[in-house]
Amino acid sequence: IYIIFIENTPGRYKILDAYMSFVVMMGVIQFVYCFIIGKEPWATFLAGFISCVGSFVLVANLRIQSNPNNMKEFPKITPERSYADFFICSIILYLFVISFIG
């Protein structure tokens, strides 16, 4: 699978995938840390973890929407539009996260 994946994917998406795996790692590290130390500042943990999950999901959305193979499913959304959507959603997400981190 891995080889097919490496061969078939354009460079742009590789960057996105690298970012996604980085975010997953961050989330795992936070989770393990929380598991070991304990969930004392519970809001802070949640904020950090949800921001990880959120940015993962949003990048995944961007990747799905801007993929030319998926043009049939998203007839109205151009890659530029999907990028703008990603931008707006990220802003909302980080605003919520910052206000929640307390």
């Binding site: 699978i1 949640l46 959507d85 996260v97």
Partner: protein, 769 residues
């Protein structure tokens, strides 16, 4: 407009215009039909709960936002106090606070009370627009107009949003519909922007009403159903994952909700669906790279295993106590006998009873029969959106069957389904096979006529926009129309006399007649059943003139004027919000029933005899006690009728102090006449209600008009309190708690001493009182 209707472009424009005009008329109608209570009585806040919302809004407007968020209210729950900022949904207060600020910015200086009173009607206008949008997404535009017209005047929704009913539901139905609209739109387009809009409105909904639980369970249910049906698409992934992440972190911002989305069982469905969707998406991704067919079978088994593992881990986590179980209020929706057995305070509220059939017809009229038809049509044309509508319809009708109060969430979907049904019917029966242009012209002129004839006809007028819809204005569908007319003509050849013009005409006539009846019914119900403020009671004299009984405000105002600022008032919790709002005095319990033990303590005061009650009253620093008594004028919602619930609630907490069977007489009946049980006769509640009641009637023939019996014939001795005020119709009775006796006797013996030795003087002083 109609003259130049031959040109398709201008026709489209005029159709848009028509649509806007109709929607505007519907919104205005929705606003106007809710004003009956203001026109008839006055512009006041009605029920019990809105009084607290009103007080909180006043606080917000006067003190500012930050003080409001950190408000510690010392006036309620007297010895305890209440952290208001963390125990309420602040959406409605903030909404009206913002409206207040905006209006004042433009120098439109309006009192906050008027904003509070008129918030419900304004938002119901917006609700009909949101319903239009939702239905338009699911079905056609004509169905949207129908649904908007239905929801504008449906009594099931009017009952919660008349002018003066300043309750959370007033804005949250709008938020519910608009959230669903954005959700359906985001599933349709797969745009993360619409999903973010869904999440934002969901956030607003969370801040406004506890019913947000419904949204956060319905949307995952929709997603889950689509997964099961094999309708997974990447649009679904985009829409749901964006919504879930943004919506969850958003909902955690509300202090009252806090960490609940991460820890309680109500939110776990959403989390599970989110995880499942991630897995499905990943598998999908892998498959697109692998393209093997044997993968499929493996995949299905894998998913089922994952699902069961998820459920099992959820159950174990719940057992371990990491996830909180269902709250009682929600649990009672599934186990309908639960509340009555374990939490009588939930069962005691009349809104929490199961709904009877007549009330469905009363609240929805013809929408009840056409609701399943609309669902049938939704089934027939199964799209991602109509699956949502179907799920919403089924869940909401179940919940509305369990609880009267949830009729409110049923009403919008019934209107949507009704709109779908109607538009299908008219699509089929208004299609007159003539040459296109003339049809369009005729229909168009009719529409404009109807729309222009004023708000009266607005509810029917949506009947007509269905017609241009089928006449198919855009150039694109011109061909389709031809095909369809061809098909129709062939059909006619097959079965010649099934749908002739006169049959169509009859069907259309009967439908419009039904609509007309619907409008009449809604207006009638609104004016007769739902437009009465509960703080003034209206009755009619024999000559038809109106007599208003205003005892509540009379008594509250007396307290406000004649009692010390810091006095504490003991009453049953129903009146807590009104007392705090209108008298500005401290209460012991109120309608926010967060502390059951405290409520049971008040119930114990009211149910015990003088001696025990006095100890409790002194311990809680009570200065005044207040009871509602409807025996003199026949007001059935008084405290004697609620007394059994008080006893049940108290018995749940103090089973050794108060027993329900003691309050029934020897034959097991709950009576107030001579066969009254001695415990009931000795209770404070009985004494406070019937104290000196007999003096109103000649020769000891006191008659209780609510219970329909004569009352206990011996005089009632009340030694621990003095009657200080009874309102004009004896509806509200206020007693002042006596101070302890100067020379250390118990108050009973002091009273006995006084009455025994100087009966004459005592009586005289009572009379002068």
């Amino acid at each position: 407009m109609a003259v130049s209707a031959v040109d398709f472009k201008s026709l489209k424009k005029s159709k848009d215009l028509l649509c806007i005009v109709i929607l505007a008329l519907i919104a205005i109608l929705a606003f106007i039909s809710r004003l009956l209570s203001v026109v008839r009585f006055e512009s006041v806040i009605h029920e019990f709960d809105p009084w607290f919302n009103y007080r909180a809004t006043q606080y917000l407007v006067n003190e500012g936002f930050y003080k409001f968020l950190t408000w510690f209210d010392q006036v309620s729950w007297y010895p305890l106090g209440r952290v208001v900022g963390g125990t309420l949904y602040p959406g409605i207060m903030i909404t009206s606070g913002i409206i207040y600020k905006v209006l004042h910015f433009f120098n439109f200086n309006i009192d906050i009370r008027h904003i509070c009173v008129f918030l419900g009607p304004v938002f119901s206008g917006l609700t009909s627009i949101a319903t239009y949008l939702l239905t338009k997404e699911v079905c056609t535009r004509s169905a949207g107009l129908f649904a908007a017209a239905f929801v504008a005047i449906a009594p099931g929704y009017i009952s919660r949003s008349v002018a003066g009913s300043y309750d959370n539901e007033a804005i949250s139905i709008f938020l519910l519909m608009i959230t669903f609209y954005f959700w359906v739109k985001s599933v349709k387009t797969g745009s993360s922007f619409w999903a973010a809009c869904t999440a934002l409105f969901y956030f607003y909904m969370v801040s406004a009403w506890g019913g947000y639980i419904f949204i956060i369970n319905l949307i995952p249910l929709h997603v889950f159903a689509l997964l099961l049906m094999g309708r997974y698409s990447q649009r679904l992934y985009v829409a749901y994952s964006t919504f879930y992440v943004l919506g969850t972190i958003g909902s955690m911002q509300i202090p009252f909700v806090g960490f609940q989305p991460a820890t309680t069982a109500e939110h776990m469905g959403a989390l599970g669906t989110f995880g499942l969707l991630q897995i499905v998406a990943f598998v999908h991704f892998c498959r697109s790279h692998l393209s093997s067919d044997s993968f499929k079978a493996l995949l299905k088994r894998f998913l089922i295993v994952i699902f069961f593992v998820g459920v099992a881990s959820f159950l174990t986590l719940q057992k371990l106590g990491i996830i909180d179980p269902w709250t009682g209020r929600l649990y009672s929706l599934f186990d309908t006998g639960y509340a009555k057995k374990h939490i009588p305070i939930i069962a005691s509220v009349s809104e929490h009873q199961p709904t009877a059939w007549p009330s469905f017809f009363f609240d929805l009229h013809i929408l009840v029969p056409i609701f399943p038809v609309g669902i049938y049509f939704a089934f027939k044309k199964l799209t991602d959106e109509s699956v949502f509508i179907i799920l919403y319809a089924f869940t909401a009708s179940y919940f509305a069957g369990v609880m009267v109060r949830l009729m409110l969430t049923l009403t919008p979907i019934v209107c949507v389904a009704g709109g779908i049904c109607m538009s299908y019917l008219l699509d089929n029966f208004l299609a007159v096979p003539k040459s296109k242009a003339t049809v369009v012209k005729v229909e168009e002129t009719e529409d404009i006529k109807e729309a222009a004839s004023g708000t009266e006809s607005a509810p029917e007028s949506p009947a007509s926009p269905a017609s241009p819809k089928m006449a198919n204005s855009p150039r694109m569908s011109k061909r389709k129309n031809e095909i369809r007319s061809n098909a129709k003509s062939t059909k006619k050849d097959d079965e010649p006399s099934v749908i002739t013009v006169d049959v169509k005409f009859i069907v259309i006539c009967s439908l419009s007649l039904v609509f007309f009846m619907y409008v009449l019914h809604c207006t009638w119900v609104t004016s007769n059943a739902y437009s009465s403020p509960s703080i003034v009671l209206a009755s009619r004299n024999r000559d038809g003139s109106q007599r208003i009984i205003d005892d509540f405000r009379e008594a509250y105002y007396w307290l406000r004027q004649n009692s010390p600022e810091d006095s504490k008032i003991m009453s049953w919790w129903d009146y807590g919000y009104q007392l705090a709002g209108m008298t500005n005095r401290t209460t012991l319990v109120d309608n926010n029933t967060w502390n059951n033990t405290h409520i049971a303590t008040v119930g114990r005061m009211l149910a015990s005899n003088e001696e025990n009650a006095y100890v409790l009253l002194r311990k809680h620093d009570v200065d005044y006690a207040l009871v509602m008594f409807g025996g003199a004028i026949g007001y059935s919602g008084d405290d004697i009728n609620k007394f059994l619930w008080m006893i049940r609630i108290t018995e749940g907490v103090y089973p050794d102090q108060v027993k329900e069977e003691n309050f029934y007489n020897s034959r097991g009946e709950y009576r107030v006449d001579d066969s009254v049980s001695p415990t009931l006769r000795d209770s404070i509640m009985y004494k406070m209600s019937y104290y000196r009641f007999k003096d109103l009637y000649p020769n000891n023939q006191a008659f209780d008009r609510v219970r329909g019996t004569p009352v206990y014939s011996k005089p009632i001795q009340l030694s621990i309190m003095d009657e200080v005020y009874s309102s004009e119709n004896l509806l509200v009775r206020i007693y002042k708690i006596k101070k302890p006796d100067n020379i250390g006797r118990s108050l009973q013996s002091a009273a006995k001493f006084n009455s025994g030795r100087r009966r004459k003087r005592n009586r005289k002083s009572r009379k002068s009182n």
